[in-house]
């Protein structure tokens, strides 16, 4: 039951009734009416105090005070709009930098597999060395054995994903699909919103059941959100599947940042891709994820899996020649998916954003200091009429919180827009990327927390200082006192703040400089091929029902026809394009090379058409390029790059050597110059190329080298291809130059953000220096007047003010240099071609900051120099 609090009026009423009762009683004891009334009041003591105490105890006093403080603070800010807007915008920029990066972290690292209930007890399992581009590490048979014998997990799931096509209607629609073990949805704890999962396919996991679970997006877009979809048929790569379920919205598979459109049982591998790898113990194609049992940590699980794996290796030694050690990772830094590229970058960007926010805080603190000196009289009055110092500090903190929350609100608006900025750095690509930030409740809460923290950091010092300045109310109330002692106190703290600001902006600028010049170096580095004037388009013959022989014939004809187009210089094919995360890997065995125990023999492998090297303009160092005679009936051949030849055949002639690629022996006919195939910042890695006409792939990219603008050839290429098959869709039509932007997308993100943080830092530092020097100069008007009256020239004054600014800059730079030297080594992993102590960057940044400081001091110095001594002396 809720009882209303008793009102103060009711209490007063009771006291009034007391007076009457007491007076009555006194009167009955013989006093006169007047005397009785007087005595009743006197006997009571102080009724006013009692009522006040009642009021205080029956009310949440601090809440009253807070409301009052907020009202007062709002008025204060409205009365001083220029101060308020500068402060709010400064903080908004600092907070927005943080909330933007946080929104990205939130939807990538903190939410590695969207749509599953708990990620903390899920781990991803890796075999062999950790790599940024691992291949799936397990065979089906090993996975099945591990799953059946492990005791550390409530479940182990396996999956494999790749492109497929929905083929029932006219043109095939390309999708990214997942082959999933029967327990896939149960281990993840994902419940289909319609129908059921694949669990019932368990007894037939190896042979496969033609059932499919649709992704929410596919169901919405391709099937019009048909509520009676269950039981209907979908054709995938020309074969029918019964739709048994629809996955919930938001769930998109097990790889961070990559979207899967549908799920079918593992055993359907043979039907979808015509592969029989599920039968073999030495064919590695599955990614494995596990849900830990309660109370088991991932080290214990890792140990158990290693023991089990060791037993498998002993039982089947021929199928376990490669590395067999197992390691596990929490999902946020799973090597599978996009997080592997983000978990190194985003936290560093977040740290830089925090430094920027700290700078913004310092600026606000300076503004508040200036403001608090001006408001000293107000504080003194409040103190002298009974406010406690604590109340004064609280009042100022409420003002700061108001500013910070306003800044936070503005920052959230900005973030709504910048959160989507992550995808702006990713070029159009065939990858089903879903990397992006979004503003959700976590981001909202984090932004508010950051804002309040900002208020505390920037406000505490000025508030304490202000309340202390006003502690001697009597002297503060006297006008003259305002300009002397207060100014001196303030400028020492403010000077410290400015030095700190310059040091922090030096740190940010150095980081920005290093990242930008690293990105520039990577951009300018020769990738090992010529990306200009190259048109690319992808297609997939599998869903069109081509047999291998038909597909090869199609390729041959297409190459001939495209080559005859006017302006086309050469044409080739590949199952990959460089620097777009499309190259695959395979296990190799070079002739005469004995691998060390558990040495990984996995290298980059590309399937390439005739004249590949000539078309992409990669130098041929020895031997020959592929030709159209390297076909199924000819000797199996391969081309290796120099890195591969150097690693495995040091000092020997690679031409004519035999090289086993994925179990098939080839003869090396050419050595290509090294190139970059994954990321620009990687060292060159061994690569083997095998000919398309011998190792046929249905999923291909056609490379067309042209004269002039590549995109101008798009329609001609399309017409030619459609001349051969009018239904074959060409997708991702692009240029090689645009396509390879994927290969340094993460470096561009880091450089762009660090760069803009650096620029903001420079501006904030300049404003900070300007504010402090201008204020100090204004305070010293009187002194400058005296000096001029005593014979100091305008130039002396000018030089002195500039000198003051440079003094700050010098101290700040020294401090900044020390901090930068100490901290830039954390950037090492992100830098390419630049050392972490790159002196050129340091010098440039120091000069930049000096120039900025000088410019910031120039205006106040000129103003000081133009002071009229007579006027200055009279103002006081």
């Amino acid at each position: 039951m809720f009882r209303r609090r008793r009102s103060a009026d009711d209490f007063a009423e009771e006291i009034k009734s007391h007076f009457e009762l007491e007076a009555d009683e006194l009167q009955s004891e013989g006093l006169s009416e007047e005397e009785a009334r007087r005595r009743a009041r006197v006997e009571f003591g102080n009724a006013q105090t009692a009522q006040e105490r009642f009021y205080l105890r029956s009310r949440i006093v601090w809440f009253d005070n807070l409301l009052h403080d907020i009202k007062f603070a709002s008025r204060q800010l409205i009365r001083n709009p220029s101060f308020a807007s500068i402060a709010i915008v400064t903080l908004a920029l600092g907070i927005a930098a943080n909330s933007t990066i946080f929104s990205w972290i939130n939807s990538t690292l903190l939410d590695p597999i969207p749509g599953i209930a708990h990620t903390s007890d899920m781990i991803t399992i890796m075999r062999g060395e950790r790599s940024e581009h691992p291949t799936p590490p397990f065979s089906y048979l090993d996975f099945a054995d591990l799953r059946d014998s492990t005791r550390s997990f409530t479940g182990l799931l396996a999956y494999h994903d790749d492109y497929m096509a929905i083929t029932e209607s006219g043109k095939p629609e390309r999708i990214y699909g997942t082959l999933a073990s029967s327990n896939y949805f149960e281990v993840l704890g994902v419940r289909p919103i319609l129908g059921r999962s694949l669990e019932s396919t368990a007894p037939n996991e190896r042979r496969g059941t033609a059932e499919a679970v649709l992704g929410y997006g596919l169901w919405q877009n391709h099937f019009g959100a048909d509520p009676s979809i269950i039981g209907k048929i979908v054709h995938i790569n020309l074969r029918p599947y019964t739709i048994v379920g629809v996955a919930p919205e938001g769930f998109q598979g097990c790889k961070s940042g990559l979207r899967s459109d549908l799920w079918i049982p593992l055993g359907m591998d043979s039907q979808v891709w015509g592969s029989d790898r599920i039968k073999y113990r030495d064919v590695l194609w599955l990614n494995v994820l596990g849900k830990l049992k309660p109370g088991v940590d991932h080290h214990q699980a890792e140990n158990e899996l290693n023991i089990l794996m060791q037993r498998l290796a002993e039982r089947f030694p021929d199928a376990h020649k490669g590395p067999n050690t197992i390691s596990s990772d929490p999902l946020w830094r799973s090597p599978f998916g996009a997080n592997v590229y983000l978990y190194g970058t985003l936290p560093i960007l977040f740290a830089l954003a925090l430094v920027l926010l700290l700078l913004a805080c310092a600026n606000l603190a300076n503004l508040l200091l200036v403001g608090s000196v001006a408001r000293r009289r107000e504080f003194a009055i409040r103190l002298s009429i009974g406010a406690t110092r604590w109340r004064l500090v609280l009042q100022l903190m409420v003002e700061n919180a108001l500013i910070a929350l306003a800044g936070g609100g503005l920052a959230l608006l900005l973030t709504k827009w910048t959160a989507h900025g992550l995808s702006a750095f990713l070029p159009p690509t065939t990858l089903p990327l879903t990397l992006n930030g979004r503003v959700d409740r976590t981001v909202l809460v984090a932004t508010i927390m950051i804002s309040l923290l900002t208020a505390a950091v920037s406000g505490v010092l000025p508030a304490l200082r202000a309340s202390r300045l006003a502690l001697a109310p009597v002297s503060a109330l006297k006008d003259e006192a305002l300009n002397t002692s207060g100014g001196i106190h303030k400028s020492r703290l403010a000077g410290g703040l400015v030095v700190g600001q310059i040091a922090l902006s030096m740190l940010l600028l150095v980081c920005a400089g290093l990242l930008v010049s690293s990105q520039q170096k990577a951009q300018d580095s020769y990738p090992g091929f010529d990306p200009s004037h190259m048109f690319l388009a992808s297609f997939d013959l599998k869903p069109m029902g081509y047999s291998r022989a038909q597909g090869i014939e199609f390729d041959k004809q297409m190459l001939v026809r495209l080559k005859s187009l006017p302006g086309v210089q050469s044409v080739t094919l590949g199952d990959f394009s460089p620097l777009s995360y499309t190259i695959h890997t395979d296990f190799i065995q070079p002739e005469g090379y004995v691998p060390g125990k558990n040495e990984s023999m996995e290298v980059d492998r590309g399937v390439a058409g005739p004249e590949y090297l000539r078309t992409v303009r990669t130098a041929l160092l020895a031997g020959r390029d592929f030709t159209d005679r390297d076909n199924a009936s000819a000797l199996p051949v391969s081309i290796v790059n120099k890195a591969l030849a150097d690693r495995y055949w040091q000092g020997q002639d690679p031409i004519g050597k035999r090289l086993q690629v994925a179990g098939h022996w080839t003869t090396v006919v050419g050595v290509a110059a090294n190139g970059k195939y994954r990321r620009l910042v990687y060292d060159t890695a061994p690569l083997v190329l095998i000919p398309m006409l011998q190792s046929y792939r249905t999923d291909q990219i056609v490379y067309v080298r042209v004269a002039g603008d590549p995109m101008a050839y798009a329609s001609a290429v399309e017409r030619t291809v459609h001349g051969l098959n009018s239904d074959l869709p060409l997708f991702n039509e692009t240029t090689l130059a645009a396509n390879m932007r994927m290969g340094n997308a993460f470096e561009r993100i880091a450089a762009a953000f660090a760069g803009s943080f650096g620029l903001l830092a420079l501006i904030l530092a300049a404003i900070g220096v300007y504010g402090v020097v201008a204020y100090a100069t204004k305070q010293r008007t009187h002194e400058i007047g005296i000096r001029m009256a005593l014979g100091a020239g305008k130039r002396d004054i000018f030089r002195q003010v500039l000198g003051r600014g440079l003094h700050f800059a010098g101290l700040g730079l020294v401090l900044g240099l020390i901090i930068s030297f100490a901290l830039t080594r954390y950037l090492r992993g992100m830098l390419y071609g630049v050392g972490t102590a790159d002196w050129l960057t340091f010098v440039m940044v120091a000069i930049l900051l000096c120039v900025a400081t000088l410019i910031a001091c120039f205006v106040p110095a000129r103003r000081a120099a133009s002071i009229d001594p007579m006027q200055a002396l009279r103002t006081e």
Binding site: E13, E14, I15, S17, H18, G45, N46, F54
Partner: protein, 127 residues
């Protein structure tokens, strides 16, 4: 200092004793055992029963009444006094009755202990 008694503004102050913290509550509860009463009546009653030794600061009394009411040891409602004045009447609740028993025995243990220390014999036996 909420329930500390205040010195009377007049009348030989030395004869009266300021109330100890917490004792006012006990006295109020004890007074209300006899039946419901208004604030002024309670004040008078305490003063009279203590043979005018205690002086009750009225402000503190009303605040104490409010406090006891908040704790649900006593309940209050407006009524009319014998001489037809509007007054707020307080009465003991079951919880208050129980508290009175506990506080009384607590108090007796305290005074007994004080007596032992001050006089070398328990003083409460006389009471």
């Amino acid at each position: 200092m909420p329930s500390l008694g205040r010195m009377p503004p007049q009348d030989n102050p030395d004869d009266r004793i300021a109330l100890l913290q917490g004792t006012l509550d006990l006295l109020i509860l004890k007074t209300l055992v006899l039946g419901s009463c208004h604030g002024q009546g309670i004040a008078r009653s305490i003063q009279r029963q203590s043979e005018e030794v205690f002086f009750v600061d009225h402000g503190s009394l009303y605040l104490a009444l409010q406090r006891l009411e908040d704790k649900k040891w006593i309940s209050a409602k407006w009524g009319v006094s014998e001489n037809n004045r509007k007054a707020r009447f307080y009465s003991l609740t079951a919880k208050g009755r129980q508290q009175l028993v506990e506080k009384t025995s607590e108090w007796q243990r305290l005074t007994r202990a004080m007596g032992l220390i001050l006089d070398g014999r328990p003083s409460s036996e006389e009471v």
